[in-house]
Symmetry: C2
Subunit: 171 residues, 2 copies
């Protein structure tokens, strides 16, 4: 390998990022589980569906938009389906495929959960940063994601910012 160790500045940045990686997901999860009885991942899956045309997405597409593997999504959707928040039905165009559609109850759940979630994201991230840092963070995220998923097949890219999912007003 012969890879050089990190210098002090690099290490400082990495330690911080690692701490955020460790602490932030738990904070988001705790709030949503307490206030709306859903996981942060559940919430995003529901939110993505609520933005989709017909409130419907194919499993593969939903997995891509939530940065999840297909097995994971399948389990999650099974649970959401059992709770009546989502329904599955075979895709007419491709009989291998399955569509997931948000039910009315699911839509209500998103609307119920959204304000508290947005407030939490604001409190922990957005409001902690200056406008300049917000843009810096976006570019840093881009750069890291380009390495994590070079093909771009996995990471949700969201070039459409006109009504992007998960944190806007529910339609």
């Amino acid at each position: 390998m012969d890879t050089p160790w990190l210098d002090r500045r690099q290490l400082r940045a990495w330690i911080r990022l690692r701490a955020v990686l460790e602490l932030l997901p738990g904070a988001l999860d705790t709030q949503l589980r307490r206030d709306a009885d859903v996981t942060e991942f559940d919430y995003y899956a529901l939110a993505m569906l609520s933005e989709a045309p017909g409130r419907t997405l194919r499993m593969t597409e939903l997995a891509r938009q939530t940065n999840a593997t297909l097995p994971r999504l399948s389990h999650v959707v099974s649970r959401l389906e059992a709770r009546g928040l989502v329904e599955r039905f075979p895709c007419p165009d491709d009989r291998r495929a399955t569509n997931a559609r948000l039910t009315d109850a699911g839509r209500a759940k998103v609307q119920e959960a959204a304000p508290g979630h947005v407030a939490t994201v604001r409190h922990h991230v957005i409001d902690a940063l200056s406008d300049e840092q917000i843009d810096q963070l976006a570019r840093i995220g881009d750069a890291i994601l380009a390495r994590l998923d070079p093909t771009g097949s996995m990471a949700a890219t969201y070039t459409r910012y006109d009504g992007a999912p998960g944190a806007e007003a529910p339609r």
Copy 2:
């Protein structure tokens, strides 16, 4: 609440951060499990111990340095102890407390795993960013952590950059 929704710039940054939160830990975990048969968390626990004087830390202090809760750390250390990488013994100063000490095998494990892990961190994060972005990331991390853990009691702060843990040459 009456919290405003995120605007496009904020949303862009948040979506990126969320994707990193989802994808990066898995990438680090996969590499370490494959090449050294340890979790990323296992690795950091071992690495923190390897930096500590006498390769020993109290459980509470180790939990703080790894951003973990005490129950979680207790389980992890139990597993590491069963593998002979760590040993536990009661703290003589405070009989409530437990010390965790790195064994020779544990030290060897850290040294074995470190180069590959550092290479992965470099590849996915450090080398993806400019020097300027590295510093920006550190400051952004500081700002977010200040919100996540206002008291500073939890998040590992690491003002000591002379030989910081986890990514430097093992001693």
